[in-house]
């Protein structure tokens, strides 16, 4: 028996957390690994040697393509995001505030919906290339996206936001007196930037680069719709699974996992390392007003054009959702607009079903996330125990693992009865999707709860206990009310992300409970763009609503917990 009451209690809280992590994070990964060692009924590393030596080099090429696209995505996103962060945080000009908030608009587009919008805007039959063609009387469309360039453009559009947000917050934390001191010592603008400002920003830039690299490695929707014949690893896993090459899919999953988890570990090391650059907080950045009239209006003009480009996908989805099915076939532009698609959504049970499915599945998953997230976060932030960083890493693994891999892990783990599924086979049943969504969003909820719990001084809890309150009373009356806003905003975000979740859905759904993203894919296949876009609009509104509620009522910038 453990003597110390506190230690015993910590253990009591820790056990369920560990059980969940082992059962649904660790065990499925290990099952995939075991599967990858199976070849022709025996245990070998054969699948791995095939991966690297196979004559057609398909797999190696896919791995290389993934890395190549990821590196390019980092460069392009940095190239857009970092200058934007500087301009919006260091200079003042008319409309700055509006442009600055518009800059994060890409995150209200769920990935599948975003890619769809890009296809309709810039694809072969896209509105923009055709508009230009007609405007200038060209014979051919002047450009179209697809393959590498398509994936890259979508990545740049969605991922520059990570650079923009991390670098912005780093810029705002730089103590202006550091730069002033350098000017005072005689340095010119150029020198101050390269010798003072830039070195202070490198941690943020490195963090954003790692993040974008991982997200692009995991990216699924963009290659799924745009790749054409171009192979990337996350997509190859899906194809292997569809073709029934389960051992190959397992091997590909393990290799992709290794890359992702190495990045996670490297990132943790990089962020935990003692850093002299920790800038003093709470000193507002000073913005210099742009006075030169020409420069000022160039900035405003660029801002307006930028906002139009940023919001074009949203408008496209809105526009398409108003085009009834069957009214836009061979014409270049749609001509009929009404609310037919929304009416069907509301009245046709078949069309409403996927939306209802998604809401139910996500609700179950998110309820789990809420309970698990609060418990895990409390143990991680407020309790001491050995092996904390191991638990911490387990919690973060679902964040690092590409969704495709999580889907495969679940297939391998739960296509047979296990104690973790209480002796049931979960694959092919209703429960596999809520489980997948739950696992996917563990890190999001835990991290957003961590952020508020870390703000909460330990002495608050101690004060309550010294006044005679037991732990559970303290937790209910003091801790929970204080952290609730942060927790709820994280949970709501997890909910809307679950509603839009595509990669695990496409691997695990069953016909009877197909979620909204699968239905979007089906409608696209049948060229029912209007209906697909109407589903998309619902997701966009949900995300926007959640961000608005978090900002307005909880005072939390929910978009922060996405990075």
């Amino acid at each position: 028996m453990i003597k110390n009451r506190d230690t015993r209690f910590t253990l009591l809280l820790l056990i369920p957390v560990l059980l969940v992590l082992i059962a649904y994070v660790l065990y499925p990964s290990l099952r995939t690994f075991m599967e990858s060692l199976q070849k022709d009924g025996s245990m070998t590393f054969g699948n791995y040697s095939d991966f690297f030596t196979q004559e057609s080099k398909t797999n190696l090429e896919a791995l290389w393509n993934s890395v190549y696209i990821s590196i390019l995505s980092v460069l392009v996103s940095a190239f857009i995001g970092i200058p934007l962060a500087f301009i919006f945080n260091r200079y003042d000009f008319p409309g700055r505030g509006f442009f600055a908030s518009a800059a994060i608009m890409p995150i209200v587009l769920p990935s599948l919906v975003g890619v769809m919008a890009f296809m309709f805007l810039y694809g072969e039959t896209g509105l923009i290339p055709n508009a230009i063609k007609d405007l200038f009387g060209l014979d051919e469309v002047p450009f179209k996206i697809g393959g590498v360039s398509g994936i890259l453009i979508v990545h740049a559009y969605t991922m520059y936001v990570y650079f923009y947000m991390t670098v912005s917050s780093a810029i705002n934390k730089i103590d202006p007196s550091l730069e002033e001191a350098a000017y005072n010592l005689g340095a010119n603008r150029f020198k101050v930037f390269w010798k003072i400002t830039f070195p202070l920003l490198t941690p943020a830039i490195v963090a954003a680069s790692l993040l974008v690299f991982m997200i692009s490695m995991a990216s699924f929707s963009a290659p799924f719709l745009l790749a054409g014949g171009y192979r990337v690893l996350s997509l190859q896993i899906y194809f292997s699974k569809i073709n029934g090459d389960m051992e190959v899919a397992a091997t590909q999953s393990v290799i992709l996992s290794i890359v992702s988890i190495s990045f996670l570990l490297f990132m943790r090391w990089y962020q935990n390392r003692k850093d002299y650059r920790m800038a003093s907080k709470g000193i507002g950045a000073h913005r210099s007003e742009v006075n030169h009239p020409l420069l000022k209006w160039i900035l405003v003009f660029t801002g307006v054009v930028g906002v139009i480009i940023l919001l074009l996908p949203h408008f496209t989805i809105l526009l398409l959702s108003l085009v009834p099915d069957g009214t836009w076939t061979w014409q270049t532009y749609p001509s009929v607009f009404n609310f037919e698609n929304y009416r069907l959504l509301y009245q046709d049970p078949n069309i409403f079903k996927p939306l209802k499915n998604s809401l139910i599945l996500s609700f179950i998953a998110t309820a789990g996330n809420l309970i698990f997230g609060v418990l895990a976060s409390y143990v991680l932030v407020k309790r001491k125990f050995v092996g904390k960083s191991f638990v911490d890493i387990l919690v973060m693994i679902p964040w690092a693992l590409p969704a495709t891999v999580i889907g495969m892990n679940l297939i391998f783990a739960f296509n047979e009865p296990t104690i973790f599924s209480f002796g049931n086979i979960l694959v092919g049943t209703f429960w596999i999707l809520p489980l997948a969504y739950f696992i996917r969003h563990i890190p999001l909820v835990v991290r957003s709860t961590n952020a508020v719990l870390e703000q909460l001084d330990d002495s608050i809890e101690e004060a309550s206990r010294s006044l005679g309150a037991k732990w559970f009373y303290t937790f209910r009356k003091v801790i929970l009310p204080l952290i609730l806003p942060g927790v709820l905003s994280g949970t709501l975000l997890a909910f809307v992300e679950s509603v839009g979740e595509f990669p695990t859905s496409v691997l695990l759904y069953t016909i009877s409970n197909r979620p909204i993203s699968i239905e979007i894919m089906n409608q696209l296949r049948m060229f029912n763009m209007g209906q697909a876009a109407a589903y998309g609009m619902i997701q966009i509104s949900l995300i926007a609503l959640v961000l608005f509620i978090s900002n307005k009522f909880f005072g939390v910038k929910a978009e922060k917990s996405l990075s």
Binding site: A463, S464, S466, L467, G468, A469, Y473, V478
Partner: protein
């Protein structure tokens, strides 16, 4: 109300010994202060009394009851935290009522008691305010009221005034004393501020590096410090390393060595000035206000010729730095008579009265 007995308590955090061999007896109703530099183990000791830490070794008793492993919520101690730890989502009233709600008090009595204590801390008009709307001093009063309303046996205060500005600090000092006398409650007060400790306490325990060096009344601590650490930590003092040359019935003769030169001093042989059990390295201590400045050579013991190196003017007090031979002495004189005309460079004579000098043991820096 209760007395507190700390019996040979030790607390280690890994390899760090935060508190070692601590024995304290705190009387019923006493205002007892833990004084010491930051990191010396005051908070750790206080938290062992509150129940937030359990001692590695030793026993904590309230009255006769062994409390060593009783969880904090069952101790009935009222604690005031350094940052107040007010519940930010509750009003002043709800903060104060919290402990009573835990005790399931009826709403009528609860209201009466909360209002009563709010009146005592002069916050009755603020009952419905959010705590974030209060000033630092008012928040401090809420924290006090919240701790007092549960009628604790012991009141624990961890550096309660350190976040207030100087003027408020003086005000809250008398406020705390008034409440303590009102409630006649055993109080432990943690501070690193010697003037707070000297002016408020019935008794003080002086800590350094996890070891308690002396327990005594403020005047005992100031006038008869047990060793060079206590002497140096409280007030200003001249400490000179010495060797005893010879001990006679009336005087003890000591040699102060400083570089090349050495001086002989005669110290009164009385228990106040010298205790036989003090062995090892010794130091001669004398407070700056006990040294007399003379403007001409005078007959008598322990009179040395010196030069003034520096004069600092503090209004009612003048600090003078005098060099005699290799020795540097700090002298504090009242702003009157002779001392008004002193300036750096002038020659003076200093007298170290034999009954004011004390020979005390030197503890090593690590507190052993």
């Amino acid at each position: 109300m209760a007395s507190i007995n700390i019996d040979n308590v030790q607390k280690a955090f890994g390899k760090v010994m935060a508190v070692d061999h601590l024995n304290l007896d705190i009387k019923d109703g006493e205002f007892f202060t833990f004084l010491g530099p930051s990191g010396c183990g005051k908070t750790t000791t206080l938290r062992m009394i509150a129940g937030f830490y359990y001692p590695t070794k030793g026993v904590v008793r309230f009255g006769k009851k062994d409390m060593t492993r009783v969880p904090p919520e069952k101790r009935n101690t009222g604690m005031v935290f350094q940052n107040y730890a007010l519940f930010p989502h509750m009003t002043v009233f709800e903060n104060v009522a919290f402990g009573l709600r835990v005790r399931k008090l009826g709403s009528k009595e609860l209201k009466m008691r909360v209002e009563d204590v709010l009146q005592k801390v002069r916050l009755e008009q603020y009952a419905d305010r959010q705590v974030s709307q209060l000033s630092g001093g008012q928040q401090q009063r809420v924290a006090l009221a919240r701790a007092l309303v549960i009628e604790p046996e012991i009141l624990l205060l961890d550096e309660p005034l350190s976040n207030l500005d100087a003027k408020l600090r003086d005000e809250m000092r008398s406020e705390i004393l008034r409440l303590q006398k009102d409630y006649k409650i055993t109080t432990i007060y943690v501070t690193h501020d010697q003037s707070e400790a000297l002016s408020m306490s019935d008794r003080i325990a002086v800590f350094n590096f996890g070891v308690c060096h002396q327990v005594g009344t403020p005047s005992e601590i100031y006038n008869e410090p047990a060793n060079d650490f206590v002497a140096g930590f409280i007030g200003e003092i001249n400490l000179l390393p010495v060797k005893i040359e010879k001990i006679e019935r009336e005087y003890i003769y000591v040699i102060v060595q400083n570089g090349e030169s050495s001086s002989e001093l005669a110290v009164r042989n009385a228990p106040f000035n010298y205790k036989e059990e003090n062995k090892g390295d010794l130091a001669l201590s004398i407070r700056p206000e006990s040294i007399n400045i003379l403007d001409k050579e005078t007959e008598g013991k322990n009179i040395f010729k010196g030069t003034i190196e520096e004069v600092q003017f503090f209004g009612s007090l003048i600090n003078i730095l005098v060099r005699t031979g290799g020795l540097q002495l700090q002298v504090n004189a009242l702003n009157s008579g002779l001392s008004r005309n002193l300036e750096a460079g002038s020659e003076v004579w200093v007298e170290l009265p034999d009954e004011q000098m004390r020979i005390i043991p030197v503890v090593n820096g690590d507190g052993s």
